[in-house]
């Protein structure tokens, strides 16, 4: 995986002077626990990137939100935070079906899409789940 370290701790101006910009393709480990397609891979990439930059993001956010610190330092932190790539943000991560890679009508408890869930539930493959009748 290409090391992406665009001098986040340095001043903003330095961002443009980074010698080697971050660019695709990036090699990273393909997830083995689930069905893989392009969108799953894209999501996996975001997850890995978020994990890598989590500490920095949280630290910057802490500085930016801390009212005890001088306003200029807070602004600086906020600017650094916004200058970080989008794929390092948590809100870019979307849960996907483990069986089909679908992201719509996902049942979180099982990490399955509704069709994948229904097939499995009807076959009795999910522990504790039965066709309800009352």
């Amino acid at each position: 995986m290409a090391v992406h370290d665009s001098s986040i701790s340095g001043p903003i101006l330095a961002l443009h002077q980074v010698s080697m910009p971050f660019r695709f393709p990036v090699t990273f480990e393909v997830p083995k626990h689930c069905y893989v397609n392009a969108r799953v891979l894209r999501d996996q990439f975001k997850r890995l990137q978020y994990a890598e930059h989590e500490v920095t993001r949280k630290a910057l956010k802490y500085i930016a939100r801390n009212t005890e610190l001088p306003p200029r330092a807070r602004l600086e932190a906020q600017l650094q935070l916004t200058s970080m790539p989008k794929y390092t943000a948590f809100n870019q991560i979307r849960d996907r079906c483990v069986a089909t890679g679908n992201s719509k009508s996902l049942i979180r408890d099982f990490k399955l899409n509704r069709t994948a869930f229904r097939d499995r539930a009807r076959a009795g493959l999910i522990p504790g789940v039965k066709v309800a009748s009352w």
Binding site: G10, R72, D109, P127
Partner: protein, 271 residues
């Protein structure tokens, strides 16, 4: 000594000494018990204080004599087994009692003080494995000498999942599924922490797959516990020192950032 006293006492009260066999079992006491006339019943219902005291005395004496009789007579040891207690041809021994006990509900010891020390909660989708896990814990508690109560069932949860049966145009047609989660609880009393630790680690070691175990322990603190806590914070913390030696990676990063040249200038400006 006691029996002699009781005997003389009972003679005064007019209690007839009866052997154990003559006492009728509890379940048909109503049919074969001593006959009571309607007058007796009436007097039993509206007795004077004096009469009531006498009656109670008589009952107590009768009870004590019964207890004595239980101790005096020798019983023939005739345990009733579910399975025939045959000698195993290979080992040359009968089935051990603790193995036989697996066919019964787990035994539990009486509480000595009734101080709750731990609460074990079991959670799972399969009730049979849940019972197996809970009974295993109860039996091991019995053999470790930890008093427990009986295994109690807690509320069964049913989570409903409604999915559409077929997509788009027929999306109104739904199918309901539910997941049942069973809950059981076992409360342990009066054990000291070492024994409790041993028990919990043993239960943990032999934990069954598909059952979620959760143990919460209750400990007792001295009455000056709040003073102990206050004493800890007696020396005032200064903020930079308070964060010294922290293992939180975010805190470390914050420190690193604030010490960097960019942030340093802003921090100095303020001063």
């Amino acid at each position: 000594m006691l029996s002699r006293v009781l005997k003389s006492h009972s003679a005064n009260l007019g209690v007839i000494r009866r052997s154990f066999g003559t006492f009728s079992p509890v379940y048909n006491s109503s049919s074969s018990g001593p006959e009571t006339t309607s007058d007796d019943k009436k007097s039993a219902k509206f007795s004077t204080p004096q009469e009531y005291i006498e009656q109670k005395k008589l009952e107590r004496a009768q009870e004590e004599i019964f207890q004595q009789n239980l101790l005096e007579e020798e019983f023939k040891y005739q345990p009733k087994y579910i399975s025939p207690n045959e000698v195993d041809p290979i080992t040359g021994r009968p089935i051990p009692i603790n193995v036989e006990l697996l066919k019964y509900k787990p035994l539990n010891l009486p509480k000595t003080h009734g101080h709750e020390v731990a609460k074990l909660k079991f959670r799972g989708y399969n009730e049979d494995s849940l019972i197996r896990a809970a009974e295993f814990a109860a039996r091991s508690a019995y053999y470790l000498g930890i008093p427990t109560n009986k295994i109690t069932s807690l509320k069964t949860e049913k989570r409903l999942y409604t999915v559409i049966k077929s997509p788009f145009a027929q999306a109104k047609t739904k199918q309901n599924f539910h997941r049942t989660t069973f809950n059981k609880e076992l409360v342990a009393f009066d054990a000291n922490p070492e024994v409790l630790d041993l028990w919990l680690s043993f239960v943990n070691k032999h934990a069954i797959e598909g059952v979620e175990y959760k143990a919460s322990m209750t400990t007792h603190e001295s009455l000056d516990y709040n003073k102990q806590i206050d004493a800890l914070a007696a020396d005032e913390f200064e903020l930079p020192q308070a964060y010294e030696g922290t293992t939180d990676p975010v805190a470390k990063k914050v420190e690193e950032l604030l010490k960097s040249d960019t942030f340093k200038q802003f921090l100095e400006e303020k001063k």
